[in-house]
């Protein structure tokens, strides 16, 4: 083989390996999670794990029910989404369709900055500002609540929702808009019927990705939600999420104990839920592209 051929051969293989690496890593992570997590189910049933109402991992015998954690995650996520989705979509429309060019650029920069703030910093800011605020406004014993977590997470989901929705709005063909305007529709009427219609798959995908971001977030939420593993009855009480549980307890769980395996099993649950959210988002994104 000529030196040139050899070089081509190596470059080709190197690129191939880089491409395949991500698939291999995902597969390895999943196998590892599964191997460690499944060990738990030798001693405890799947129903008791997912549906158990008590998470006392270090009592004897340990109670490893993650229902309070699942509900905690869902509650915080739902609250965050209720805030971030309407706000995010509205501001995406403002940026894409209404704002004058200079303001548009300023806003886009601000949103990028928001997405660049590390979550631990956001969590810290939330801890010293939002937590006392919530405590005072609602007159409750602690400001470390599900609602506090929802607000912080909404802030973190906003950049994702805004920038992807804005892309979706901008990719609605200009001919639709021109067509509607030429039929005597006002700007607002065009926006409402034609542009929202065209951008809808992208907006849904943006929201799903926002949900994914919120659901998987750990640090900020651990810092402001109080981490009490009880089944939440309202937004104004401390909750603990799936992610925060792993982060907080992995360091102290005895390797090879049921507690240790239970944390891996939580990892599997998280993995499956995040995966489902992302696949749904992808489906909507592709549906938008096909048309």
């Amino acid at each position: 083989m000529s030196p040139r051929k050899i070089r081509e051969f190596f470059i080709e293989k190197l690129i191939f390996l880089s491409g395949v690496a991500s698939i291999v890593f995902v597969a390895l992570i999943f196998v590892f999670l599964l191997k460690e997590g499944v060990s738990l189910f030798k001693t405890i049933g799947l129903g008791d794990f997912l549906g158990g109402r008590f998470w006392y991992p270090i009592s004897d015998p340990p109670k490893l029910g993650i229902l309070p954690l699942i509900l905690g995650s869902l509650l915080v996520t739902a609250g965050a989404i209720a805030l971030a989705v309407p706000l995010g979509i509205a501001s995406a429309f403002y940026i894409a369709e209404v704002a004058p060019p200079r303001l548009r650029d300023a806003l886009k920069t601000c949103i990028e900055v928001l997405s660049a703030i590390p979550s631990v910093v956001l969590g810290f800011i939330g801890m010293v500002t939002l937590v006392p605020f919530i405590k005072r406004v609602f007159g409750i014993p602690t400001g470390l609540t599900a609602m506090t977590g929802s607000i912080m997470l909404a802030l973190m989901a906003l950049p994702t929702i805004i920038s992807i929705s804005e892309d979706a709005i901008n990719s609605v063909p200009g001919e639709y808009k021109a067509g509607a305007i030429a039929l005597g529709a006002t700007h607002w009427q065009t926006l409402r019927r034609v542009i929202i219609h065209g951008a809808m798959p992208g907006i849904i995908a943006a929201s799903m990705l926002g949900i994914g971001r919120v659901f998987g977030e750990t640090m900020a939420v651990m810092m402001v939600t109080g981490n009490a593993a009880v089944i939440p009855k309202s937004l104004l009480q401390p909750v603990r999420t799936l992610t925060a549980t792993i982060a907080a307890e992995m360091g102290e769980a005895v390797r090879g104990s049921e507690h240790f395996y239970a944390l891996f099993a939580i990892g599997i649950v998280l993995f499956i839920i995040s995966f489902a959210i992302n696949v749904t988002a992808d489906l909507f994104l592709n549906r938008g592209k096909k048309r």
Binding site: G179, L183, G184, R193
Partner: protein
């Protein structure tokens, strides 16, 4: 010329359209007569489309465009006396490429009327049928009004766009190279509908196809580099134009 001049439908006076510093159209004055088909021919960058889009204020959508001069529709200044939305209902536009909305055939046609407040289902259904008939499309789509407009062929989509403009009952229809993407049969159908519509509407047709102007236009104007070189009855423009440049363009020496 012996015919007494009728009151113009649209009077254009000293119209200048500029993109930033470059003017696309300079000091244009002309009258558009009721129930005529005025064809506008000329090479690209001659200002044809800028002129057309000034007539229904579509140029307003592009903030860089500055327009001076006056355009009067039945004597009313379209920029001072009329709201853009009302103007566009009276002066409809057909685009170069068919641009149906991402809705069903039915919804495409009732889009305009709905926005101007028509709610009655019978009236809307009647509008759909009558405007599709006028656009020579009814027989082809009457059994599938609820299917997506994108399922139609290009020629059908263009006739749908004509129908949807007709549903608003416009007085003037602007065609911006409406057949540039269509096959000869579809082109013939669009032209047929134009000739038919002329009975009740005034039509301005911008076209790159001089033969089309010769076929359907009652009068023809020749634009070149932002100015109108010549306007006159189509027969005269095509057989004995006053200006040498018009003749050169028509016989294909440039453009």
């Amino acid at each position: 010329m012996t015919a007494e001049a009728p009151t113009p439908k649209i009077e254009v006076r000293d119209l200048t359209v500029a993109y930033g510093r470059e003017s696309a159209l300079r000091n244009l004055s002309l009258d558009i007569l009721p129930n005529e088909i005025l064809s506008i021919i000329g090479p690209s960058n001659s200002g044809k489309t800028s002129f057309l889009r000034a007539l229904n204020r579509m140029n307003d959508l592009e903030p860089r465009i500055r327009t001076t001069g006056t355009i009067r529709l039945d004597g009313a200044d379209i920029r001072r006396d009329l709201a853009a939305e009302d103007l566009r209902k009276r002066v409809g536009m057909i685009f170069a490429l068919p641009n149906p909305l991402p809705l069903s055939i039915f919804e495409n046609i009732v889009y305009g009327p709905r926005r101007s407040g028509v709610r009655d289902k019978n009236i809307l259904a009647g509008l759909v049928e009558s405007s599709l008939r006028s656009a020579f499309l009814w027989d082809e789509v009457k059994d599938r009004l609820q299917s997506s407009a994108f399922k139609l062929s290009g020629g059908q989509q263009q006739r749908l766009c004509i129908a949807r403009t007709l549903a608003l009952g416009p007085e003037v229809i602007l065609y911006d190279e409406p057949c540039s993407g269509l096959d000869p049969i579809s082109t013939a159908k669009v032209e047929e509908s134009m000739t038919e519509l002329r009975k009740s509407q005034t039509i301005v047709l911008v076209t790159n196809n001089t033969k089309q102007a010769a076929r359907v236009g009652t009068r023809t104007a020749f634009f070149l580099s932002g100015e109108m070189v010549e306007i006159g009855p189509t027969d005269k423009i095509f057989t004995a134009p006053d200006d040498k440049r018009t003749e050169d363009y028509i016989v294909g020496r440039f453009g």
